[in-house]
Symmetry: C2
Subunit: 192 residues, 2 copies
DNA sequence: GACCTATCTTGTCGTCGTCAAGTAGGATCG
DNA sequence: CGATCCTACTTGACGACGACAAGATAGGTC
């Protein structure tokens, strides 16, 4: 078969875009650049992603999936820590391990994420995990959940993540392990 | 005089870029577009800003100045609230009132902010205000400051701001006043 | 009145996203 | 087995952008 029909171009583009995103940031993800890397013509990506934003939203959807997986993994491995502390650290670790992915995942508000079913499902799953663990467990009523500490915990962890990624916290700049230790202490304090 | 020499092009560009940023976001700020708006040739802005990133960093510097002003104003008007609660609400109000400016201000890490003296001074001032108020006051030693609640408070407020701006907090989406009330409650709780 | 330099213009290049029109080739059906 | 069709791709074009180079102009200086 000639390579006129790639066969799996959409996934190939997503994979290439994923590594490009993580290595060089969202700005480096261009449709034409991806086409070159994958070895197709410059307009081929447009066939699978109506526009560039839609590709980015798919990458953001993957980001939510990765984030939720990271929280679940942390929950499973939580040795001695409470569930809230565990998912908090899972969240933070994902952000620090995949800074560009994490940024895109939450910047996606400006990209019409409603156009991607996958994004809507993945972001809802993230929120659900967060809420059930950090707001009274899955058996709590919606009112009980809303009154729980989820907002406080989420905002604290999200703030810790974004401030570090944006190089804003002078005293801890570049000191990842020390920062993670400080974050762990804050989370434990919150949990009491 | 013909308008060959504009006279104050740099400031005119900054002003135009500022309103464009706040109204339409950083992506809408282009050197050529600004040139059109101000009525100069497409390459004129390049004379005052070596590249686009440098212009954005200047806008981010203004952002830090505005943020610090908002915190100081909140401190001055703090009726009954503690200093920490006051600056927290000042911070949050600035973010919610100027979402695009706030975003750019903290996304600037990827833009070599070190190239702008104004940015470095303004971001240092922001941090200093934050630290002195939220970490034992200006008379505390550096060690005492570091041990203070500044990281917790800053991360909480910054997280509350960015989550809201990124449309991430489902239950409060679009409900600014309710969200501000919830944030105030969280801040007061933190302060005890 | 000559020149000097900061400021602006014009022109160009390469890159990008997006659209339109054409083409290849596997699947389907006669 | 061959005509047809639709999906996946190609080629080509357009306008917008950032950036650079070279030229023009004004306003001050000697």
């Amino acid at each position: 078969m000639s390579d006129y029909h790639h066969g799996d171009l959409r996934n190939a583009l997503l994979a290439e875009a994923g590594s490009l995103l993580e290595e060089e940031g969202a700005e480096a993800v261009t449709l034409r650049g991806l086409a070159r890397r994958v070895g197709v013509s410059h307009a081929a990506p447009g066939y699978h992603f109506a526009d560039r934003d839609l590709l980015l939203v798919e990458l953001a959807a993957e980001g939510h999936e990765m984030l939720e997986a990271s929280m679940r993994r942390a929950l499973a491995e939580a040795d001695g820590e409470s569930d809230l502390v565990a998912i908090g650290m899972g969240y933070l670790r994902f952000a620090l391990d995949h800074p560009n992915r994490f940024r895109l995942t939450f910047e996606s508000a400006g990209l019409d994420p409603g156009r991607s079913e996958r994004f809507m499902a993945a972001s809802a799953a993230t929120f659900r995990t967060l809420l059930t663990v950090a707001a009274g467990g899955p058996d709590a009523t919606p009112d009980e959940q809303l009154a729980g500490p989820w907002l406080r915990a989420w905002a604290l962890v999200h703030g810790l993540a974004t401030l570090y990624l944006d190089d804003a916290v002078g005293p801890y700049r570049g000191q990842r392990e020390r920062y993670l230790a400080a974050a762990l202490a804050e989370l434990r304090a919150l949990d009491r």
